[in-house]
Symmetry: C2
Subunit: 397 residues, 2 copies
DNA sequence: GTGAAAGCGCTAACAT
DNA sequence: ATGTTAGCGCTTTCAC
């Protein structure tokens, strides 16, 4: 019967009851092979009876090692990060490490505070996704502390990271759209385009569009309340987004940098916007969303405006979360190996912690997952007019 | 410029540089109002320059308080738990507490290990969801330690919890189905029916069906690979599930307790199963799934078998996760306030920690969220035969 | 308002 | 194989 919390025994009481020194009890738990079998058994018996387990705070203070790592993610509502967490957590647990986790909701102030808090807890390393690695003050100071850390999803030339090649992934999606006949594509993001990944993808997509001789890519911004973890757009949003290269170089492509704000606060206003924007002469035939949640929301939004996907417009996302396959039609996306990103980042981090090795980065392969939401562009003259059975309804056809 | 990790200064060096004792530096950080303004400023200046922040391991050891709580969840891939985490984490963070998180994948052995590990880390309390609260050995021993803890989602008469009233929620869904004309309902679960919530809902649904004069509720078990976080069914699955009342009473209702295993490993086998099972004379007209992810998988599965929802069969879930609204048609479900469950549980826990108060439980209100996947039952003679435009396709009608 | 001193629970260096 | 000793970084009396 274990003792109650208030009476939790220390190593000294166990030592006395077992008739040995505290050092021997310590060895019995941390390096049992150094202790005589009989002594070990006696200590274990006493410890079990008393409900004793070594206090890791004491151990951490003395040994200087907490066997704990910190994890900082924007949110867990997005399955991308939830899966990444699970990959990292599993690897950490199997390596004997515990995880302290906090979320930032894409707020740089929270990112800074989280880093400080976790360092105060003496985590041995940090795994984190920041909104914008290039502009993050806290990342620079984290590097200066000498504590190992690895970025998740943020590609950066100044910090170790594990990610996919966002530019290549965006290019692949553009190629896919081009191959199907699309020549006018818009990129759709939430108001959180401060995210460096989204910017990287947008920029690479624009370069690729130019290379392929496609029309310049427009940038549409969805209002925040469609996208759960978004903050409101600042007023004057048309000026709010100066898209820059996250890796520090300037955007060399001459495409328009001013985003177009999509619709207002009401469903009716958004429906009007989409019906107008998608029937204009130079309207995009495909909408490339910066992530899958946004893509799913957008499709629902278009459905309410009676705009069919992919019949009237093609839609694709980014992330390749598992739920995509359960939509009808399945969402076309670029899959990131999120679990693997978490796992490999944790592996890199633990290597750095244990061997004090050089920081390294890793680009993991992405995969284009074709779904049913992207098809050849429709002829303009049948847009919004023809009626018929939808190929992808739930019911038998 | 902060010092590198190896040279991280201690309170003593700061004291020396500031010309005060270590006690004063300590006060400057933990109770600054006790320190003279000038002294405080001097200490802060020195600390900033040296990059000093108090080591929380030292503080925890001395003060006996880590300001950390442990969180144990089955998985974060299910948005129910991800949202719950966010609710708890936010409340904890705003109260000055950090969180150590681990997942168990519904494995009781991992649950036990997680509790031990977190207690070793001297967490001040524990928030956890276990597979089966009534049978959990580790919960009983956790209670004996005297450490505060609150269960999430597990309703239990022996432990404090925050949950919805699972029986009432299941009854409400049965009433909803009944009102629409359904008289034969099957419950569909993953192989993880070891979950006490799912058992509670199944049992309450059976009782309600009897009260309403409906046919006895059958229990279908989906094979594991449809449901991401499931482990394989043991062989002899037909005998594997003896459904018992989680709260300790026996199941008084005489409905069949042996579940029916749905289909095999291939899509073709499952399609065959569903087409047969749903056209039988006494076939269910509605399928009540134990959670929303399962319901979404099932609908996709039925679609592949060319069985329309809700045209040929109605389907509903449990949890009310946000993504439900993005399916077409939207998934009918019972909503649990997951974020609120996390928040309130954390609140209860911190109260217990800070005031050493009595353990209390909380039943939060659920809400039936009608979607498009439940409709009046079809006439048997039109089942699988009529063709036509689906009301809920993405494209305009 | 500040300092001196003790010690939280443990481990590591050294001694035997 | 085990004991002795010192001390990790901090907080907390208790004194002044």
């Amino acid at each position: 019967m274990p003792a109650r919390a208030s009476e939790r025994p220390s190593i000294l009481q166990i030592a006395q009851q077992a008739g040995v020194s505290s050092a021997t009890v310590s060895r019995a738990f941390s390096r049992p092979e150094l202790v005589h079998a009989e002594t070990l058994a006696r200590i274990q018996a006493v410890a079990r009876r008393a409900g004793f387990r070594p206090n890791r705070i004491g151990r951490s203070l003395r040994s200087g090692s907490t066997r704990t790592i910190g994890l900082i993610l924007p949110t867990l509502s997005n399955p991308v990060f939830a899966e990444c967490f699970e990959g990292a957590e599993r690897y950490a647990r199997e390596s004997g490490y515990s995880i302290m986790l906090t979320v930032t909701n894409y707020d740089p102030a929270r990112e800074s505070k989280a880093v400080r808090d976790l360092l105060d807890h003496q985590v041995e390393g940090l795994l984190l996704t920041v909104t914008d690695a290039a502009r993050s003050k806290v990342l620079a100071s984290l590097r200066d502390t000498g504590r190992p850390y690895v970025l998740l999803y943020n590609e950066s030339i100044h910090h170790p990271y594990v990610s996919v090649d966002n530019r290549a992934a965006a290019r692949d999606m553009l190629d896919h759209l081009y191959a199907l006949g699309h020549r006018r594509v818009a990129i759709v993001t939430g108001p959180l385009i401060a995210s460096d990944r989204a910017r990287l993808r947008l920029q690479a997509a624009r370069v690729r569009a130019a290379e392929l001789g496609m029309a310049a890519i427009a940038h549409w911004v969805m209002p925040s309340h469609i996208h759960a973890d978004a903050r409101p757009l600042a007023t004057g949003h048309r000026e709010a987004f100066i898209l820059e290269d996250t890796l520090g170089r300037s955007d060399i492509h001459g495409a328009p940098k001013v985003p177009l704000y999509c619709g207002g606060q009401t469903q009716a206003a958004r429906s009007r916007f989409f019906r107008t924007a998608l029937t204009a002469p130079e309207a995009p035939t495909a909408l490339f969303c910066s992530n899958d949640r946004l893509a799913a929301s957008l499709i629902a939004c278009l459905a309410r405006a009676r705009i069919g996907v992919p019949r009237d417009v093609s839609v694709c996302g980014f992330d390749g979360i598992e739920i995509n396959a359960l939509f009808t039609p399945a969402l076309t996306s670029v899959q990131q190996p999120s679990r693997e990103i978490g796992k490999r980042a944790c592996q890199l981090l633990l290597t750095r912690i244990q061997k004090d090795s050089e920081p390294r980065s890793l680009s993991l392969p992405h995969r284009l997952l074709p779904g049913g939401t992207v098809a050849a562009p429709p002829h303009r003259d049948v847009l919004f007019t023809t009626r018929g059975t939808h190929r992808h309804a739930y019911r038998p056809d």
